[in-house]
Symmetry: C2
Subunit: 505 residues, 2 copies
């Protein structure tokens, strides 16, 4: 039997109705009637989360690891239904949703292993030195959970960055109850995953306030959530405009809280001369594939290529055009995102010094690829070209040599990634670029493409503003747990009072 969404909130284990509803706009089929969250539902969820924290935040790590694994199992048990509702709501293909589900359960299990291991506790111990003048007390430190965390589901990853996504996994692993604000573009997907989490919380015998899902399509519900006194931090993946507005609300609170927003990026790719000469066509094909993967709706979509002027560069452009010409339309995540894509395309097309390399026709909720070309000089004169166009749009910036390539790099705002396509003959230029790029990005890569973010210990998915609102944080990988921890130090505490994790440390 197929899953039929009930459209209610899930607050601390209860299905909760609110006074008004909105109708979702799925890629296929009729809209769903979904409860519209208000400050009242946010308050109920936040109070329950605060209540739950007293137990959950002090529970043994094994309890939390067990919960994460139960959630992964409960998601797998709903695999077919999740893919069915997910494809219907987002227009993403089934294979993508199956893969994303694997990534999601993989993240949950990775965090379970990570907290069982315990290295994330960052424990430190300076033993007493009673003979010193003055005597040194016994001082121990460990990282502790911060309290209830708000997570905003992302439109472009209905599973891996949404209800049971990386932010939720990291926060639960840390010991923080989570309130998810469901993304209105995939409320049914949010609901079925929330049901899985709710089932796992109950099966683990934990306080139901450990997890809530509040549905909603208005700015007010998000604003109420980030301003609620019980909320200690926010995880968000989305647009610069929405993200900055929420960041500002967090900063203006009587007691400000951190807002971990990942707000997008153009992810420049530098095709250096020797690489262009050696394998220009292969790079062009690789770029075309990365640019259009998932209708270009990845945070790490490589929207900008820096390419030498001259014949080899022209051949690269021709190869890109050939690879993308006549590409089939892809359904975008929402009608709003498709409209923004077209508006961004028109803005780029109308910029002085920009020439169309590949045009196509996209309408309604479809996207087809566009490629434009400009020069470093025109780029530098038109600051707006640096703004992300979310979707399969590529801008090729032609550089007349090393000085222009360096000037381009210097001009960049914060990015999630930068990529060097290079051969050994490019090493001198790469060495000059690296210190510039390293300051601008969270991840530098060579001879690959930035889409496909590995979930591992060394991953950094973040970067200077506007790529993220906290350059010290990552939202992917085990290091992302640090966002939801704070150090606490214990001086001369009698052993029975110390947290278990510090007893024999």
């Amino acid at each position: 039997m197929t899953f039929v969404p009930h459209g209610l909130h899930l607050i601390a284990g209860q299905r909760v109705k609110s006074a008004s509803c909105f109708t979702s706009d799925p890629a296929e089929g009729p809209g769903l009637l979904i409860c519209e969250g208000t400050a009242a539902e946010v308050d109920a969820a936040a109070r329950a989360a605060e209540d739950a924290f007293a137990g959950f935040g002090w529970a043994p790590r094994t309890v939390r690891a067990d919960l994460l694994e139960r959630i992964a199992d409960a998601i797998e048990a709903r695999a077919a239904d999740i893919t069915a509702i997910g494809t219907r709501e987002t227009g993403l293909p089934a294979a993508r949703l199956d893969g994303e589900r694997g990534r999601t359960t993989g993240q949950l299990r990775l965090f379970a292993r990570h907290i069982r291991d315990g290295a994330y506790l960052d424990r430190r111990h300076d033993p007493a030195l009673p003979g010193r003048t003055p005597p040194r007390p016994d001082i121990r430190m460990m990282q502790r959970p911060i309290g209830p965390v708000a997570v905003f589901g992302a439109s472009n990853f209905p599973l891996a960055f949404s209800t049971a996504g990386g932010d939720t996994a990291a926060a639960l692993a840390a010991g923080c109850p989570v309130i998810v604000k469901g993304h209105p573009a995939h409320p049914g997907t949010a609901e079925i995953v929330a049901e899985a989490i709710t089932e796992a919380v109950a099966a683990a015998g934990l306080h139901p306030g450990v997890f809530s899902l509040v549905q909603g399509s208005t700015r007010e519900v998000g604003a109420a959530l980030v301003q609620h006194p019980a909320i200690r931090a926010v995880g968000f993946t989305g647009s610069l405009g929405a993200g900055r507005a929420l960041f500002d609300l967090c900063a203006r609170r009587p007691e400000p809280i951190p807002f971990f927003g990942e707000l997008g990026s153009t992810n420049p790719v530098f095709v250096l001369p020797a690489a262009l000469a050696a394998r220009g066509e292969a790079i062009a094909q690789g770029w075309a594939a990365s640019l259009t993967l998932g209708a270009g709706q990845f945070c790490t979509n490589p929207g900008i290529v820096v390419l030498p002027t001259g014949e080899a560069g022209d051949r690269f452009l021709a190869a890109v055009g050939k690879a993308l010409d006549g590409a089939a339309p892809q359904t975008m995540l929402t009608a709003g995102i498709a409209a923004s894509f077209r508006a961004g395309r028109d803005r780029v097309a109308a910029t002085a010094g920009v020439r169309a390399v590949l045009t196509s026709v996209c309408d309604r909720r479809n996207a087809t690829p566009y490629v434009f070309e400009t020069t470093v000089a025109d780029w530098l004169a038109n600051h707006d070209l640096g703004e992300e166009v979310f979707g399969p749009l590529g801008l090729v910036v032609r550089s007349r040599g090393e000085a222009e390539t360096l000037a381009f790099a210097d001009s960049l705002l914060g990015q999630l990634t930068a990529t060097l396509q290079m051969e050994s003959g490019d090493m001198a230029l790469a060495r000059r670029l690296l210190p510039i790029l390293e300051r601008k990005v969270g991840r530098v890569l060579a001879n690959g493409f930035p889409t496909g973010v590995e979930v591992c210990d060394a991953m950094v998915h973040g970067g200077p503003y506007p790529a993220s609102t906290n350059f010290g944080a990552t939202s992917v990988g085990t290091l992302s747990i640090r966002r939801f921890l704070r150090p606490v130090c214990y001086q001369n505490l009698p052993l029975p009072l110390l947290p278990d994790d510090l007893h024999d440390y």
Copy 2:
């Protein structure tokens, strides 16, 4: 020959004059004529810092460790002059300044050892898995310096939290150039220490922009500094009002930056019943000493004591009164701080339900101790009693038992510390208090007093707002370096391009 301040800024190794001056108001002797910084001096210093970062941020760790040790040596070489100008400006006794100098050079040398060791780099490596589907690339991560850092000198620690204090040591250790905004209460002390740093930077052969001191007494110069585009983070120790204003400026920047402000705390001490019975008088004497240490001008000054009602508590109060009665006046750091102390005293005295236990007379720049008493019920009804009074003022909150003590703990705002005075008979209550207190503070201690902050690996000097503006950070101890680092990840980079520190990791 005695040191005579020149009163100029020290910008990237140069003594710089500005158009107007202010006259300082030292505790002893005539005022000094000090250059008044403006946005122009800030801009010159910030540009030099940005320039310096390209080399300094990529220099080997040994180069930075060597610099920190040279600074410590250059400070020691000026020991007598530093104590002479420091005592004259701040009114602190010579022994205190000698001790604080030792703490300052100790911090510098500790950070030198810390970065030589390299554990702070937090290196991670996920090796390539070419046989996996899809193949995993080689991914390495390390913490990198964020760029130029602004440091605000603190009035109450003219050495250890000022020009070459903990923030400066941590930032330089991380690889970040530093611009210090000198505190107008001790500009001569700032200057002589800045001369020591400048000498060390030159002797190490480093870019002079690695360090600048901009003097100033206006809000404008601080505002210009935190808003300068080149500045990547701010370290600040000071009042809630000034700190919040600067925090707001940082959050409102086009590109927001972290503001690491440590804004004060009342550091509650819980005298639990068994401890009161066993050693009430000794605790009373210890508290009296901690409360009045350095005229109560420590961030960790224990301004509030929770004390059981009843005879044993009354005897505690009598012992406090006896210990402090007739205490000699102590010179406060500035006339403004003394005036604020008197205003705070009057505010507490005028609060409903507050009774004076010990009054005294303080005037001009002097402080004498005051002790007031209230009940938990009156505390809960008068939120303002929780506001810090900077100076030797103690408020004793009488509790009628466990429920009131827990309610008091629940009512607390963020604090740097909380202290339990306890015996084994208090364990049950302590176990109930700990989870509450742990959420409110950076450091929990038992059977000691919070003044005297150990500089070590496990120390946390920070806490939830308003104790600090970033509950995830500490401003004392080696963990404080993390404020000035950000993770960067390198994917498939050819070995010659990788930072040296990642080569064999």
